[in-house]
């Protein structure tokens, strides 16, 4: 079932193979299972490649998984927006350059423009910077949307132009200089030891998330009862709840067992007059801020896409633009809003990636558009329009970033990485086509 708007309930034909019955009872998206399988394959594949050829596996370690979680955020945030763009049968090739340009403007803002009047390290600098970054992204996105919707220039062309133009503009802003270091508060948004919420915070979030999962299942069940729709069998509800909680708590355990690097611990201990015990001081990083940003964005975008009129119209336009217009939907205005949202998310990704890099460089976000589109498409967003999910795109971003990180870890150079990523994209789309044919 790849149609994004979930029907209010599905039927539970309890016939067929045990697997088919399992899928019917739990209503798990089989495509999601496929992606999870692919992800596990990639993770274990890289890990055991390391074990066999390097004597030690580096992939399935708290350190690497934590890094992976942070590195996927920039792509993940933009991929959620790209779903809307692709679902409505458009494309946005300009997000990488947009990210670079906005990153540069934000870099200049906090390094050269604001400090002279506000003073270096003023606590409002990061807030102003983020606000400017998001607004600028929304503004440029609006411009894209207007050109596409009202002047009827194909989105491919408008954003291909943007891909060139905004990268050039980023260069002109600072004549190719690297702007660094960015504001220290701003840096926290990129993760790192100080940009993480630590052990206690992570457990609190994990427990709240588990409670939310259980509440969601319960509320769904009540709602079905109210309308006399078929129920999931109890064992399936229990299974879904257990699976959800296990995944959440597993993630907490992983980030909880990655500790601050020794150097930073030492500096921290000295600054705070803490005596480091002989066995060392272990401070858990916990979830990094960018991860929390990504999760928040993904949740909000999921609500937007599945629970609001806006989301319904996005799917309707993708399914049949003419029918959408005949139903009174203002297709053009919707397109503008979608691109504005995409631009704003590119601004948010610019915040995350320049904060993580602690500087703005001219190459920031280069080729990101390809990773973002690949993440959305691998995550099940159909280029024919009308179909796509936010969680799929985030998972797609995780797959893409896992590939990239894994190849770096085992020492593939950029050329080989590019080849692999290119091939994976083509194969993934082909598998998707086969999948869709079989589930039709």
């Amino acid at each position: 079932m790849t149609t994004a708007p979930r029907p209010a309930h599905a039927s539970h034909d309890l016939k067929g193979s045990p697997f088919a019955r399992f899928v019917a009872a739990t209503e798990i998206d089989t495509r999601l299972m496929g992606m999870a399988g692919a992800l596990l394959l990639i993770w274990f594949g890289f890990h055991f490649y390391g074990v066999v050829f390097n004597g030690e596996g580096f992939f399935l370690t708290p350190r690497n998984l934590w890094n992976l979680s942070v590195q996927m955020c920039s792509i993940g945030v933009m991929a959620t927006g790209m779903v809307l763009v692709i679902v409505t049968r458009n494309i946005d090739l300009s997000v990488g350059s947009l990210l670079g340009f906005i990153g540069m403007v934000m870099g200049l803002l906090q390094v050269e423009w604001l400090p002279p009047s506000m003073g270096l390290g003023h606590p409002a600098i990061w807030i102003i910077t983020v606000a400017v970054g998001l607004s600028l992204g929304a503004l440029i996105g609006t411009l894209n949307g207007v050109l596409i919707a009202y002047l009827a220039i194909p989105s491919f062309i408008v954003t291909l132009g943007g891909l060139m133009a905004w990268r050039g503009a980023a260069f002109l802003m600072a004549n190719g200089r690297t702007i660094s270091p960015v504001d220290t508060n701003f840096q926290l948004l990129g993760g790192g030891p100080y940009g993480s919420i630590g052990s206690t915070g992570s457990w609190i979030i994990g427990i709240i998330a588990c409670a939310a999962v259980l509440y969601g299942l319960l509320a769904g069940r009540k709602n079905r009862q109210k309308h006399d729709f078929p129920q999931r069998p109890i064992w399936a509800e229990v299974f879904m709840g257990a699976l959800g909680c296990a995944l959440i708590l597993g993630a907490v355990l992983v980030v909880d067992s990655y500790y601050w690097p020794k150097g930073i611990v030492k500096a921290y201990a000295e600054a705070n007059n803490i005596i480091v015990p002989p066995e060392g001081l272990f401070i858990s990083l916990g979830f990094a801020y960018p991860v929390l940003i990504l999760v928040t964005v993904a949740l909000l975008m999921t609500v937007l896409m599945t629970r609001t009129r806006f989301g319904r119209y996005v799917f309707a336009i993708g399914g049949n633009p003419e029918a959408a217009a005949l139903s009174g939907i203002n297709v053009r205005w919707m397109t503008v809003k979608i691109y504005a949202l995409m631009g704003m998310l590119a601004g948010l990704s610019a915040v995350i990636s320049s904060a993580r890099l602690t500087s703005a460089t001219n190459a920031l976000g280069q080729t990101d558009e390809l990773y973002v589109i690949a993440a959305a498409v691998i995550g099940g967003t159909s280029l024919a329009g009308g179909v796509g999910t936010i969680y799929g795109a985030v998972l797609g971003a995780l797959v893409m970033e896992s590939l990239r990180t894994g190849m770096v870890l085992i020492g593939f150079d950029t050329a080989v990485q590019n080849i692999v990523v290119g091939l994976v994209l083509i194969v993934a789309v082909y598998l998707d086509i086969i999948y869709r044919k079989r589930t039709k």
Binding site: P5, F229, V303, R307, R312, G319, A325, S327, V387
Partner: protein, 251 residues
């Protein structure tokens, strides 16, 4: 029959695409509780004419009056606000959405917090489909998985659900089997008895004779004429369609 202010009056409507005059100074009207057939060969301009009323097109010239008041219909939203519902020839369904999602498209029910009320919409859809097509079971699949007739019944349900006063049906039975066609005929008679005005585009002359009170015939974008169905024979109407002339006795 034709007394009082018409429910709808389309006066002197013209619309051209490029050089083609798809509709050329056509006037038709419709009274409450009346079914007016729109007839003509393929490409005569029937769909284009009613799209000016449904808000899909904006006429180049001409006037639309509802209950005697001139109105301007610039979008499908405007038409819906005038209680005009349309079943398009192409059905205008979003293939990737379910029956309920299509039925409420553009008019979704939302909860007090502004979120889509999916279950109520589905329950309502089950109710109306139970009336129109009791055999319909496919509530949880995208309409792309439905048969032509099932799709058509979804489009009909959408037009009927929102308590239209004016109903436009562009070949509503084209994809339906005999039983379903019979049900649509009964539906039309029922709606008519409730006082709705219905424009019915229909090629089957027997259905026209059975369901319509009057018939307006178009040819090459122009109106050939409008006749009272019970004052003419089906041959008269056929010759109007084919020859483009009004029969002498009904003139």
């Amino acid at each position: 029959m034709n007394k009082g202010t018409p429910l709808v009056e389309m006066r002197d409507i013209s619309i051209a695409f490029g050089g083609i005059k798809a509709v050329d100074h056509v006037s038709v009207d419709l009274h409450p509780g009346e079914v007016v057939g729109l007839l003509g060969h393929n490409g005569a301009g029937k769909s284009t004419l009613i799209k000016c009323l449904s808000g899909a097109y904006h006429a180049d010239s001409g006037q639309i009056l509802i209950n005697g008041q001139a109105v301007s219909i610039n979008s499908p939203r405007d038409a819906r606000a005038q209680n005009i519902e349309t079943i398009y020839q192409t059905l205008a369904l979003a293939d990737n959405l379910t029956a309920a999602q299509n039925l409420f498209l553009g008019r979704e029910l939302v909860s007090s917090r502004g979120f889509l009320d999916e279950s109520t919409m589905e329950a309502e859809t089950r109710k109306i489909m139970g009336r129109l097509n009791p055999n319909f079971r496919k509530f949880n699949v995208p309409v792309s998985a439905l048969s032509g007739g099932q799709r058509q019944s979804v489009a009909i349900a959408r037009a009927v659900y929102f308590n239209a006063k004016i109903l436009i049906m562009d070949e509503p039975t084209a994809a339906l089997g005999p039983q379903e066609t019979q049900m649509v005929s009964e539906l039309i008679q029922e709606l008519k008895a409730q006082g709705l005005g219905i424009f019915l585009i229909e090629h089957d002359i027997h259905n026209v004779m059975k369901l319509c009170d009057r018939a307006s015939v178009m040819k090459n974008g122009q109106l050939v004429g409008t006749v009272d169905v019970n004052q003419v024979t089906d041959e008269d109407i056929l010759s109007m369609i084919i020859l483009g002339k009004k029969p002498a006795k009904a003139a």
